[in-house]
Symmetry: C2
Subunit: 213 residues, 2 copies
């Protein structure tokens, strides 16, 4: 038999559209089978880390997605300046559905005062604990918590213990910032690393409204 005859005998089509349809049918079957095994619902510990853009921005995308459903959200900002303006104005449209808590005193390289930063981190974490324990929010965003952990402004073990033992099962927690500690990655359910492939800073482009802030 020729190759064509073999193909015809096997019922395979040489028409690219039909071949595509067959390939897609198979993909869909595999995907449906996988999805059927996913039945657990639980509040996730989600980490966005890496040197690239989009860690806080993707977290804010999740915040707006939850708000879109009318699900309440709390944001605790551990470092000032990471988001301030665009997001805040947009969040304010959702009124009581969202609790915004800007606890940071400024970027660590702006304040230059370690004791003040440690005190601010502590206040922010106590607020975060109260909000998470209360269980009233579908999603709690701990924005730039990784920065605070990186500088040892909060004991990592205390944060991990809280998340693993005191977070109500239905509450989703999203933690952002570079250099997520290994211990946090270990207890997390979903970890994404944002990697910088190309950045316009290299061509002298400055941070722009609605894009970077």
């Amino acid at each position: 038999m020729s190759e064509d005859e073999i193909e015809a005998a096997a019922g395979a089509s040489v028409d690219p559209d039909a071949r595509h349809a067959e390939k897609m049918r198979k993909k869909k079957a595999v995907r449906d089978k996988i999805l059927a095994t996913k039945t657990v619902e639980k509040g996730l510990i989600i980490v966005h880390t890496g040197k690239g853009k989009g860690k806080s921005t993707a977290a804010f995308g999740m915040v707006f997605r939850s708000l879109g459903y009318g699900l309440p959200v709390a944001v605790i900002q551990f470092v000032k300046g990471a988001w301030e303006t665009g997001e805040r104005f947009a969040l304010e449209r959702f009124g009581d559905l969202v609790s915004i808590n800007a606890m940071g005193e400024g970027f660590t390289w702006e304040t230059q005062d370690r004791q003040r930063d440690i005190a601010a981190a502590r206040r922010a974490f106590e607020t975060a604990k109260d909000l998470i324990r209360a269980g009233e929010h579908h999603l709690v965003l701990l924005d730039e918590l990784n920065i605070v952990l990186r500088y040892d402004y909060l004991p990592l073990q205390e944060v991990l213990n809280f998340l693993t033992t005191e977070k109500p099962p239905h509450v989703h927690v999203v933690i952002t910032g570079r250099n997520a500690p290994d211990g946090l990655i270990e207890i997390a359910d979903l970890v994404t690393e944002m990697e910088m492939i190309k950045h316009p800073f290299r061509s002298g482009v400055k941070a722009q409204k609605g894009i970077e802030f």
Copy 2:
């Protein structure tokens, strides 16, 4: 001289807080110097790619950031199902500021009809071109365009030509989807790869409202 004397002579402090303050002062000085060289403002071509989560979500974060400033945004959805519900409800809060164009016919592995997908991709791209050329939106999101390019539903070169020669200089364009083609990465200003480090699917957790969709 002893080491301590050398340090004292150099004006360096051994107090950890003072040392921290000095380190941060230096960091800030470097940062300020770099920022001063960034003076260009222009509409960027931004690409979110990679296998991890957060590509469309971070793009939506940017959309809401722009909307927060009252800047108009257009969204063209090349693949149906990538976002539908949470984001759409949230976008609707911003009324006329946002133009939503759901052009995809369904995930490619749902439709299994290549010709219909090609026609849908073409309609979506024509809409995208009109919206970008008009220059009325601060940001135009071409959601999941990379998927369409991956399947050769649109000629890559045509898309690249349009972006490099017809996009008005002030318009930001964000393109999302896995497998961004090399040619697109080449013409882009800002490229971030979302890498999956850990995913809850592996522990049988299903997609959840406000988190995945």
